[in-house]
Symmetry: C2
Subunit: 335 residues, 2 copies
């Protein structure tokens, strides 16, 4: 099969690679769509010690099961492989499984490739008529879906009564905004500094878009639920200023390890910060269902490119030249 | 009346001061016991811009109502004066009242004095037989009571199943540990660097005491609920290392405004940080009730000194020479 292999800092090589076999009890999936995530970009830039070269990146994928009892089934892939036995798995907190694996981190190769092997419980069936490129968005949107659910639980009120802000207009931010809308929020602002991307998002239904510091941006101290989909010191500083007394910051990003939060203000104003990591199996299934029945909108804000052009896609994203919040790479399969 | 007036950085002056009159609709309380808080120490050191000299500090007080319909009633004072009308007050979140006042911050003088004026709704009656020096502990312990309640709510499990750690063995930390015990926790460790204080706390029932880094200290990644009763970058770093996946940090201290949290770990392990500020009126009443009926133990870990010796008490605390987690100052009243 062809694969896009991360071979060193800033370098992706499109090359022949041995196709995987289905592991014991797993299925082989022929990949039809595989999105580029911010964490793939971190790895590409050499900033993620969990993803050393050489490695096939990519963990937002959908495809078709090849062989076995479910041969031919169209599926979207939950890339998080949990053990199913530990205390957290037993509590349906698979995302906190202490033995968790994810494709695109050793020992599992990623989905910028022709095929991956995955356990059956990680595969959610995609109805006929749903585009697999849209089904591949279940993974990034599930991160926002999960963050929204945790934030809502702590706030203890209906989202319809709340002012919500999302920092970052990439797929994590857009997914979080769409998840907010699908879960009932009506006052949602996405804050995005890149003008090209703002223009692209302006006509996506369900939320407003503005630049940081614009008059349309939420005032400091006014927001019930802030979702930081970026995770740098600067975005956390903005989040802790924006939250109202008693408000919640749900933090998805892994940009910088420390700094930014105004902890004095958070203490005096009882602001809660929730670290959120990926999604539970239920969140993933709920997000996929919301994609399938249209609650997350037409999902027409993606851009698709051939997997063979992966290096250029990474370089363009890095340069800020991509308007779409998500590029989906499409592998070519020989007949 | 005599009062201990903060007159400049590092300087408290015991001097004659005009006794206050009861404000409209308020009561005059003759102070019988008034504890020294860490925030009084911040002000004394010139680190609290909310408390400019000259000012009477002190906000942990109990005494006897003088004059009016409740003349002679023994009371402990909730020092937080909320407006009662705003959105947060209406939701019983008086601690987040946007118009809140507290004695020891302008425009209200503090309780290191013979008398203060307070609204009747801030005064909780103390039963006969309860020492007013113990009743004065309702304020600092209510801070811990509130933090425990918020942490328990987010964890969503019984405290009896949880490992709990409290950073700091001052009155906030000890109060939080006793509040944890009173609310059902059984695995509680207080971490305190001062050896003198550790020795003093060793025989207080309800929790273990250890130094940071001792083998008896909780292992990193093992604690369900960490209460930071100090609030410096170093204690927050310890808290974010100690919390288990899915755990909660309840943060009471106001030591340093920023820094310390390992946000990358908190994100990957879904650790929640709650800023907690003081207590609601209900928390204060619940804490007072727990003092009165003995659920918080004999409260014999306090030290009392005359108000006239206030400057020396502050200096001794600052030098680390005080074993007791709380010094309570006792005003002298002329007959």
């Amino acid at each position: 099969m062809k694969a896009l292999v991360y071979t060193g800092v800033g370098e992706l090589t499109y090359s022949d690679s041995p196709a995987p076999q289905a592991r014991d009890g797993e299925h082989l999936i022929r990949i039809e769509a595989s999105g580029i995530c911010g964490s793939d970009m971190h790895a590409f830039l050499g900033h993620d010690e969990r993803r050393p070269a050489p490695l096939i990146l990519g963990h937002e994928a959908a495809g078709v099961i090849t062989g076995g009892a479910r041969d031919g089934e169209r599926v979207t892939i939950n890339p998080l492989v949990a053990c199913g036995h530990c205390e957290n798995c037993t509590a349906s907190l698979e995302n906190l499984c202490s033995n968790r694996q994810i494709i695109s981190m050793p020992p599992r190769q990623g989905a910028f490739a022709g095929y991956v092997s995955m356990p059956g419980r990680n595969l959610v069936a995609v109805p006929d008529g749903v585009d697999l490129r849209h089904a591949a968005l279940a993974e990034p949107i599930a991160c926002g879906w999960h963050a929204v659910r945790l934030g809502k639980r702590i706030l203890g009120k209906d989202l319809s009564d709340m002012r919500c802000a999302v920092i970052g207009g990439g797929a994590i931010g857009v997914g979080a905004a769409l998840a907010l809308h699908a879960q009932g929020a009506r006052d949602i602002t996405v804050i995005e500094p890149n003008e090209l991307r703002r223009a692209r998002l302006a006509d996506v239904a369900g939320f407003e878009v503005c630049a940081p510091g614009e008059p349309a941006a939420p005032e400091n101290g006014s927001v019930d639920l802030v979702i930081d989909g970026v995770g740098y010191a600067g975005t956390r500083a903005a989040a802790s200023a924006m939250a109202r007394a008693g408000g919640v910051i749900a933090h998805i990003g892994l940009g910088e390890a420390t700094g930014g939060l105004d902890i004095r203000r958070m203490t005096l104003q009882e602001i809660t910060f929730i670290g959120t990591y990926t999604y539970t199996a239920q969140d993933f299934a709920d997000t996929a269902a919301a994609i399938f029945d249209g609650r997350l909108g037409p999902l027409d804000w993606i851009e698709t490119r051939p997997l063979a052009d992966g290096q250029a896609a990474f370089t363009d994203i890095r340069a800020g030249n991509v308007a779409a919040p998500k590029i989906i790479l499409i592998p070519e399969h020989e007949e």
